[in-house]
Amino acid sequence: MALLEVNGLRIHFHTRNGVVKAVDDVSFSVDCGQTLAIVGESGSGKSVICYSLLDLLPKPPAVIEGGSALFDNEDLLTCSADRMRQFRGNHIAMIFQDPMTSLNPFLSIGEQLIEPLIYHPHKSLRLGRNDARAEAIDLLREVGIVNPESRFNSYPHEFSGGMRQRAMIAMALISKPRLLICDEPTTALDVTIQAQILRLIKNLQKTRDVAVIFISHDLGVVAGIADHVLVMCDGKVQEQNNTDAIFYQSQSDYTKQLLSAIPQGAKTTANRSQPGAPLVEVSNLKTHFRDLSIAANKSSSQEHMIKAVDDVSLSIQKGEILGLVGESGSGKSTLGRSILQLVPPIAGNISFEGAELTALSSNQLTPYRRKLQMIFQDPYASLNPRMTVYETLAEPLLYHGLANRKTVSQQVQLLMDDVGLARSSMRKYPHEFSGGQRQRIAIGRAIATEPEFIIADEPVSALDVTIQAQILALIVDLVERHNLTMLFISHDLSVVRYICDRVVVMQHGKLVEQGNTEQLWAEPQQEYTRQLLAAIPAADPVQERQRWGRH
């Protein structure tokens, strides 16, 4: 018996640039106790569908043009505001992507948790504060928060990311809803935490007999938990079927494209690292930051230092692609920035082609800057919004004397060809490009000075999966054509395995393990590495189910 039945849903957004068909004739159904995954890239409309179920869409731009959403035979789209209030939280609950911003920073976790109970729309069902508190504490324990009695009074910023998401889940389930909608709940979490949260949701679903709609852009994540999958693109349904059919017998081209874009398996291109003296050598590097989150009450004489990079040594051979993996707070980004002297290390040595970088003044460093470049993660923030593509690409060429006023235009155009940008868009500004295109501009800027060594700091993490594949292909191609050496920093282990020759694993500022990629995958030596590898979701339902069954 279908709990939720959506038919012919059409939602349009009226923006300054015209009408956008965010959701175009979508139909699906969810049965009690089942999990439906809605998968798509950004702009596919997956979130819009679910927001409309709870009337959370901003009503000027968004207009529901047609369709119905029957929950227990009542149409959610046309019911009154009061009735909707009764649905929200009690029958249908929702958890969101970023638990830090989705929880009120000014109220304690406990207070937010008991709200659905003490403000229940049906006055007769309202609980008193003490009873509500008891229930909340039980639920906190159930979702895996230790010491729930004392944690009840904590504030969101005092929790870690994973704990916050657990608290959000508790908050959603406290009124015992029949349907739980999860909007990319693990996207903002580290891979090991993601695995835990996925397992938690799956278990809770069984014990509480809740239907789940799980929205994600990551097919790998849903392979293990979904019964049915709905694939969307540009507001239209591309394919929907049970999980096995989607993964093993996909019908639509888009689904196949999505599946093929996921990096799978080992690196296929050749290892081009050259033996001999390493190009870059890092010895006993230490980079510390002052901890700015000290309580105003504590004494100011003790300054806590965050050891972002704690005595790390590694070397990079010319021509190789070295992967640097770690979760948030591991220090991988800081290490990259320290090597480039963007963040001054407090101890240790960095040598490039034999020259000691830490001993150079900023003037002496300038000629080396040509040879060491960086590609950043955020394709919007890494480009000056007030400079055109032309200006952004010309700047390094002119500054380092690689072109003069007459030749620079020609060279910029060649660069644009190199990274796959249309020459005609030379005079456009960053905000007129898509995320993938902006990243191409950033890559173009990095290779403009004909560097020898590039640090890529999570260059594809902010991109959709299909675009990610394109940009990765571009990077691999450029490395080969321009004879580059690369340090590839990422938290995404599948990507790293796909393009890196060797891998270094970091945790809490320390280097945990390093070695040849395939060897590391096959026989990880350290426990942390094992945990990391075990947490990677595979886009293979059978494999995932086995893994779930094992634990």
Binding site: L54, L56, R85, Q86, F87, R88, G89, N90, A93, M94, F96, D98, T101, S102, L103, N104, P105, F106, L107, E115, P116, Y119, P121, Y155, H157, M168, M171, S175, L292, S293, I294, A295, A296, N297, S300
Partner: protein, 311 residues
């Protein structure tokens, strides 16, 4: 929190010292002394007066002895009102000014926050445009314009409200409080609208809605706390402004408060009076700022954990 308060109080001491010194220098470098304006005083008497008030001593000596007096809380005698000390005059005038400032602040907060929150609930509709245009009007009509106009309308033509005095006739506190408070009400309305709009677009408001909470609960329990932060931050400068604005309002409505005294003393070169009142005001403002910062800390649990870093 206590450590924070003590820290700030300690920081206030050098500030006060600077204030005292600057005022002292300014006052004494003005041409003419307190007694030169009185043509009725013959030169020998003037000299005798100066000797009596120690004005014939070298400047740095006057400074040291003044500092000494201040530390013991003695602001000295008034030059213009012989027989009365500055402390007495301040004690007489301050309660009046304080009451005026308090009422004005109440007017400002109640009307301002009310209008701002109402406007933020339905942005870009009439519910938003009307209060905000009124607020803009309030900002653009200075107190020395608004006051006389109110007096003209309500005092003289309609004769509903009294137009001078303080505490003599019932209702004579209404017009001055409104005159002083309106400009601030307008600014606070804009601040609270801005703050509320910012908060209402946050993810956690969406979560609250998804939990099925009523709109009024969302506004009062979830949104107000964050939305009013800019208003709390403004309280300190608002208080400083109210004290300054009291000059004009007390002049217009003939109110025997400190504001009127201050301008008069400045014109009369009444050194001790000027110094005393300046120090008094500065101390008050510093204290009030500390209070509003403590309030901000109390409201924002995250701030309680952040020490240095950006403001």
């Amino acid at each position: 929190m206590i450590r924070f308060a003590i820290n700030r109080l300690l920081q206030a001491i050098p500030v006060l010292l600077v204030v005292i010194s600057m005022t002292f220098l300014l006052v004494h470098s003005a041409p003419g002394g307190p007694f030169s304006a009185d043509k009725a005083v013959p030169p020998e008497v003037a000299r005798a007066l100066e000797a009596q008030y120690q004005l014939d001593q070298p400047l740095w000596q006057q400074y040291i002895s003044y500092l000494g007096d201040v530390i013991t809380g003695d602001f000295g005698p008034s030059f213009k009102y012989p027989g009365r000390t500055v402390n007495e005059l301040i004690a007489a005038g301050f309660p009046v000014t304080a009451e005026l400032a308090l009422y004005a602040m109440l007017v400002a907060l109640v009307i301002g926050i009310g209008a701002g929150v109402v406007a933020a609930m339905r942005p870009n509709t009439m519910q938003d445009y009307i209060p905000m245009s009124a607020a803009m009007l309030g900002i653009c009509m200075p107190s020395f314009l608004l006051g006389p106009i109110l007096v003209l309308i309500f005092g003289i033509h309609l004769e509903w409200l009294p137009i001078s005095g303080w505490g003599d006739i019932p209702g004579d506190k209404i017009l001055p409080a409104i005159t002083l408070g309106t400009g601030y009400a307008a600014y606070i309305a804009r601040l609270s609208r801005g703050g509320m709009l910012e908060v209402l677009s946050q993810d956690y408001i969406r979560t609250a809605r998804a939990k099925g909470l009523s709109e009024s609960l969302i506004i009062t329990k979830h949104a107000l706390r964050g939305g009013l932060i800019p208003v709390v931050a403004f309280l300190g400068p608002a208080f400083a402004g109210l004290l300054g604005g009291s000059f004009v309002v007390e002049t217009i409505f003939q109110i025997p408060g400190l504001g009127r005294f201050y301008v008069a003393s400045a014109f009369n070169r009444d050194y001790t009076m000027i110094l005393g009142m300046t120090i008094f005001f500065a101390t008050l403002i510093i204290l009030f700022n500390l209070l509003s910062d403590l309030l901000a800390l109390q409201l924002n649990p995250k701030l309680r954990q952040q020490a240095r870093g950006d403001h």
